[in-house]
Point group: C2
Chain length 204, copies 2
């Protein structure tokens, strides 16, 4: 009975996070309301508070879930024996494909990057795993001489910000410039450019 | 007397926009209040409404002023007789230097890019001049064969998003990764990478 209850609780928690990801992707933090999330799930506001003490805790959980899912996704694409540039391209491809398949996540990452919604330390904690994975490949490539010296964060801005913008702003450019980021032709064209930039930035 | 009054009105308007840019850079759209702006200027909320009908109008005016200032700044750096790659690097440098000198603008551009605050068409209208300036150089370079074929918007994501992130997220990466984007050594290192990426992306 206990197991059944907690399984049901886990399902409710997931449904809350699904709904919250939609709400936080659509509205800014201050405009998003727990009532909106409760209504989308079909439960009462008080039931959310049973799982998450408040909006900040819920937002942080949504963000954490996005980074965890992104990390699981890219771990599946990593090839341990590869040279550093191919590992880096695999990681970039994994992140890009993850965001294209989950546009709400791209929007929320952009929101996190402007960090306007709170003084919470959660964004730094939640993003640390992704930043560390990135840095480890760069440092390894630099140590072996395969990569040129450069700040891993500068490199991340020039490559990582690009795929977040590719995904999150595709419909915000105006009618004559908008595109579908999931269109395979569009996506492969962008990927080719991203790879070209990565190789140019990292080759000594 | 009329001229004096309107000059004073113009000064008040500028002070309102200055204060609003600070407020909108710090808080998300829904959290920002006209009262905060009024208090910073030292006037009553009703006095703001005399200039701007509401928060949306004020936000749009702040955004428009940023794009206008950015455009004026880069027009001063453009060299009409230059080849396309140098014109493009001049434009990128101008944008980068503008944002480094005005961090509130970088934060607001990031906010605009996630467009979570409204259904307003203002962001598309306000950014159109910058996007057009970018496209014109790319198209000219592509027409002459100096540049490889590629989507101007894809190129903008890989170069423009980079300098927005370089400026806006420098203090959001965690203590051991944070940096000062205005530090000349840091800035020149990033600029060198940005140029390298631009050349690699655009050279046929």
């Amino acid at each position: 009975m206990q197991a059944k209850t907690s399984r049901r609780g886990e399902q409710t928690r997931e449904r809350i996070l699904d709904a919250a990801e939609q709400v936080f992707a659509e509205k800014d933090y201050s405009a998003a309301r727990l009532e909106d999330v409760a209504q989308a799930v079909g439960i009462k506001r008080a039931s959310i508070v049973y799982y998450y003490a408040g909006k900040q805790e819920l937002y942080d959980a949504v963000e954490e879930r996005i980074f965890t899912a992104m990390s699981s996704h890219t771990q599946g694409t990593q090839r341990p024996g590869e040279n550093a540039i191919n590992q880096l391209l695999d990681l970039l491809d994994g992140w890009l494909d993850f965001l294209v398949a989950r546009p709400t996540a791209a929007r929320i990452l952009l929101r996190t990057s402007s960090n306007s919604y709170s003084d919470s330390r959660a964004p730094i904690r939640n993003s640390a795993g992704a930043l560390t994975a990135w840095e480890e490949i760069i440092r390894r490539g630099q140590a072996s001489g395969e990569f040129a010296e450069a700040s891993p964060m500068h490199l991340l801005h020039l490559l990582g910000a690009g795929f977040i913008y590719y995904t999150a702003t595709a419909q915000l450019l105006g009618d004559e410039r908008n595109y579908d980021p999931a269109n395979p032709v569009e996506l492969e064209a962008f990927r080719t450019l991203m790879h070209r930039s990565a190789k140019a930035l990292l080759t000594p």
